[in-house]
Symmetry: C2
Subunit: 140 residues, 2 copies
């Protein structure tokens, strides 16, 4: 695991510090679930608030994580799947916020369908934020 973590860090030109290794590990373990600031703070245990803000920003800038826009009030972050780097993010999958358990999922397998934009508008970014009840909560 530490090897995988270090691999990702160096691939994205990020120095391998203890904090970054730990944070990245948390993201990897969370899979397609996006993490809020609070989620991360709990997972980290004792840590420095400011360093977390800065590390999240670095991770985002370098293309390791993306902001999961889910329409909720907390900003959440999730691992990028692959080809994101410092130059561009390609995170065009929907995010689903479960109103029951509060978890946000990256729906990597779903493609956002095409649609027509009014004349003279140029599209660069796109977020589809869904909400409702997730599979686990539906079963109960």
């Amino acid at each position: 695991m530490l090897h995988k973590v270090d691999d990702i860090l160096s691939k994205h030109a990020l120095r391998r510090t203890a904090f970054r290794q730990e944070l990245l590990k948390i993201f990897i373990e969370s899979g397609s679930r996006a993490l809020s600031h609070t989620d991360i703070e709990e997972a980290l245990g004792d840590h420095d608030r400011i360093t977390l803000y800065r590390t999240l920003k670095s991770f985002q800038d370098k293309g390791l994580i993306h902001e999961a826009v889910d329409g909720g009030k907390d900003t959440k972050y999730a691992l990028c799947q692959n080809q994101c780097d410092v130059h561009h993010h390609i995170d065009h999958h929907p995010h689903f916020l479960c109103e029951s358990c509060g978890v946000t999922y990256c729906m990597d397998e779903i493609k956002i369908p095409d649609f027509d934009l009014p004349r003279n508008y140029t599209l660069k970014g796109m977020h589809l934020a869904l909400s409702g009840t997730c599979a686990s909560c539906s079963k109960v």
Copy 2:
């Protein structure tokens, strides 16, 4: 105008206070442009910050305005077109954030296309947040 404003307020069971009349007027004048907290504060001139927070919440609860999820960091609000009320919001149009001028537009004329959700997920809400260059900024 004041007549129209009062009409809307009473239709949504909101007392007609000077503050609400003024705020609603600002929203009506902004048309399909969504307003950030800052936009509103500037338009209002001298006012009470807390009352603004509370009035925005009332307007939202009663179905006068909706939050325009645009993927940006400032929350923005825009007038609901019609059939929203205290029971439900029906604001399923995309929002477009112009990266050049910072304005967010409600794209009421565009319908968010359908897509398939994984098994056992129930969809309740939906936001399509677009960004890029708006028509006015493209022309320059």
